[in-house]
């Protein structure tokens, strides 16, 4: 069965401020989509709304996964149904070891019907897999014993997100600027890893400003967000064009969206 994540006419507000103003996007399993756009256009908002962040209120439209209403589900259920988001700024959970956290998460996502208090994935099995995946990501074994994102460098956080992606094996993954804050080598490692994890087995939505990530993960579709709407969709040439020439052409072509975008950016700066 081919899985489909479908977003229709999605409107999202933060507090009483509208951010997304009618987004339509369909991601089929195995497809890679790039989501680009200037700052303040609403890219992260789309990701967080798909994942079910309580601070983002859906005021209209729908999100469905294989026809099921995602908006009805809490974030934990979305995760168990196979949606994943690698965060731009993941939260630290002091005192909680990466390995313990990952064992819970992995168990729940692989056994979505698991009830509270039921056994986790057997320790040996889990450790073996975790070790393999960490070796693959060139992560020190010590990493599993550290507290979740606590005192991690920017690069370590991003790699930890990719490790979770590798362990949870979701149907759909949103990567929110997983390349930002990384040096060239780290970006290459990250992008290779993502490619390696196998986007053929997932649907990918890559939010990015850079082309490195897309080199290893060429998108079938590139979407440009401006002022809370997707104003253009193309192939990977569109991503290349935006990397080379910036957003000038887009801003000029969609003056109304650009005006909204500037307004949102100004409000964001004022906060």
């Amino acid at each position: 069965m081919t899985h489909v994540l479908k977003i229709e006419d999605l409107h999202v507000s933060v507090g009483d401020k509208p951010i997304l103003r009618g987004v339509n996007l369909t991601i089929n399993h195995g497809e890679t989509h790039a989501l680009m756009g200037p700052n303040g256009s609403g890219k992260s908002t789309l990701g967080l709304a798909i994942m079910g962040h309580p601070g983002y209120t859906v005021t209209g439209g729908s999100i469905t996964l294989d026809g099921e209403d995602v908006l009805e589900m809490g974030p934990d259920i979305r995760a168990r149904k196979g949606i994943f988001m690698a965060f731009q700024r993941p939260m630290a959970i002091p005192g909680v070891k990466m390995a313990d956290f990952l064992r819970h998460a992995t168990t729940n996502v692989r056994r979505p019907d698991r009830k509270e208090g039921e056994e986790l994935i057997p320790m040996r099995e889990f450790r073996k897999e975790l070790k393999e995946k960490m070796a693959h990501l060139k992560m020190d074994v010590e990493f599993a014993r550290r507290y979740v994102n606590d005192g991690f460098s920017g690069g370590e956080m991003k790699r930890a997100e990719i490790l979770q992606l590798a362990m949870l094996q979701p149907k759909f993954a949103i990567l929110d600027e997983t390349d930002s804050g990384l040096d060239a080598d780290a970006v290459r490692l990250a992008s290779e890893s993502i490619a390696d994890i196998g986007h053929q087995k997932m649907g990918l939505l890559i939010i990015t400003h850079h082309d490195k990530l897309l080199e290893h993960n060429p998108p079938e579709f590139t979407h440009v967000m401006l002022g809370g709407r997707l104003v253009e969709t193309g192939g990977k040439e569109l991503a290349e064009e935006l990397h080379e020439k910036g957003y000038e052409r887009i801003r000029t072509a969609y003056p109304d969206a650009d005006a909204v975008n500037q307004e949102m950016l100004a409000e964001e700066a004022a906060v």
């Binding site: 934990d76 995760a79 002091p94 956290f101 996502v109 507290y147 979740v148 949870l168």
Partner: protein, 470 residues
């Protein structure tokens, strides 16, 4: 009085006496309700105590009657005449498994504590099968000159050592509850570690603490002689259930030059108990005293483990955690007194409040005149799980010297929406996520615990979070 014991009950006394820890003179007996000289004399009679202890008890009773309620701490509402001050500690009399509240039974069950141990912990049975293990362990300790027994036995068998220190760190006129304990104390642990002896494994009172009718007024005295070290672990994570509403212990610790003592307690009281405890250590030259103190349950807990740093180079460290839920007030904290130069103190206090529970940190840092170059740091973190719960910090700082370093950091946080969302987005349920955050919060305490306690502690927190414990 001892003569009240019927023939039938006397058999039971014989039964008890086979048990290694029991004092031979502790019979099956229940003093009348309330407190007066007669009751105190009865306790002394039953224990067949030397006259000095009897006089000490009677003097303490006078002090108790005269002293006002302490001002330091939470609100206490106790009718002192409505309490049994001495209860027979054994099976059969008026206490049966059926009388143990269901919530306590459920907790035992969920903690995975074996049947025999459950009955013991809830005071239904005094016997416990681990006596063999403890017997051989004590033989080993005895060879090194270590004294490890209950305090009643120590009064009889080691009077010279005991008398030198008993009531010296916490005198009977220290506070109303210290006076109360001094008048009616029973049970508790007595430990003496000779010079230079290091005990590698933690000494545990796990099975001993409840033997004396749940240790309602237990009295503990630990002396670590020069250059020696010990880790004493008292109590356990299982709920301590008592038919009485008042628990008031006194714990005195002497840590001599270059010695080291760590005292670990995790106490989980039933929700009707006033838990009013005085714990104090004197640390001498270059000695280290560490209190690791966890408090769960009870109606009101007032507990402020203290270290008085008496000579240069002494160190005092206190790590305390309190978890309060509906109808509970954990008034916990710590006291550090720098009474000599170059002394170092550290307090880490963490509290968790949920379902309308109230936690307070009440701490004293005191630098006495002459305690030059003392260093002290206090960190207290409060985690509040819902809007109904409450947390307060009452730090008292008295500094009589200039060249000292004193730091105080306090933080209060609610379980962050962002932390919660992060864990949920990885497929954890709200329950699992909040439990994980709380477990992370108390990790600094848990990692200091011996393995089996750490496991139980984590399980207990999970139960607390599920709301299935009281």
């Amino acid at each position: 009085m001892a003569t009240d014991i019927t023939e039938n009950e006397a058999d039971e006394v014989g039964e008890i006496n086979k048990y290694n820890f029991r004092t031979e003179t502790t019979g099956v007996f229940k003093a009348k309700k309330g407190l007066d000289e007669e009751v105190v004399n009865q306790i002394s009679d039953i224990k067949n105590e030397p006259d000095w202890m009897r006089q000490y008890r009677l003097e303490s009773l006078k002090i108790f009657n005269e002293r006002p309620m302490p001002k330091w701490g939470g609100a206490i509402d106790i009718d002192f005449q409505d309490i049994f001050y001495y209860l027979k500690p054994t099976a059969g009399q008026g206490k049966s498994w059926d009388d143990v509240p269901q919530e306590i039974k459920d907790t035992f069950e969920k903690l995975g504590i074996p049947e025999a141990e459950r009955k013991f912990l809830s005071g239904v049975k005094a016997q416990f099968e681990s006596e063999v293990i403890y017997g051989s362990l004590e033989e080993d300790l005895a060879k090194q000159g270590v004294l490890f027994t209950d305090t009643d036995t120590a009064v009889r068998e080691h009077p010279e050592v005991l008398r030198e220190y008993f009531g010296k760190i916490i005198p009977n006129n220290d506070n109303k509850f210290a006076a109360l304990n001094s008048a009616v104390w029973s049970g508790g642990s007595f430990i003496y570690i000779p010079k230079g002896v290091h005990i590698e494994f933690p000494l545990q009172a796990y099975f001993r603490i409840n033997a004396e009718s749940m240790g309602q007024f237990e009295r503990t005295l630990i002396i670590v002689d020069e250059g020696a070290s010990v880790h004493y672990v008292e109590g356990c994570t299982a709920p301590m259930y008592s038919t009485e509403s008042l628990h008031s212990a006194v714990v005195e610790v002497v840590v001599k030059r270059n010695a080291r003592c760590r005292y670990t307690t995790i106490q989980n009281w039933a929700n009707n108990i006033y838990n009013l405890v005085t714990k104090r250590a004197y640390a001498y030259g270059d000695a280290t005293m560490e209190w690791v103190d966890g408090n769960l349950g009870s109606k009101l807990t007032m507990k402020y483990p203290a270290v008085h740093m008496m000579e240069p180079g002494a160190r005092g460290e206190i790590l305390s955690i309190a978890f309060s839920s509906a109808g509970q007030h954990q008034d916990a904290g710590a006291k550090l007194v720098h009474a000599a130069p170059n002394t170092t103190g550290q307090i880490v206090s963490k509290s968790i409040s949920k379902n309308g529970g109230r936690s307070s940190y009440r701490g004293l840092v005191k630098v006495e005149p002459g305690a030059h170059n003392s260093k002290n740091s206090v960190v207290c973190d409060a985690l509040i799980l819902d809007p109904e719960s409450r947390s307060d910090t009452y730090p008292y700082i008295e500094i009589a010297e200039q060249d000292v370093q004193i730091g105080h950091e306090a933080s209060v946080s609610r379980i962050g929406e962002e932390q919660m969302f992060y864990l949920l987005s990885r497929g954890l349920s709200e329950q699992e996520a909040s439990t994980m955050i709380v477990n992370g919060f108390i990790e600094p305490l848990v990692k200091e615990l011996p393995m089996e306690y750490a496991v139980e502690m984590n399980r207990l927190i999970q139960l607390q979070m599920e709301g299935s414990v009281g």
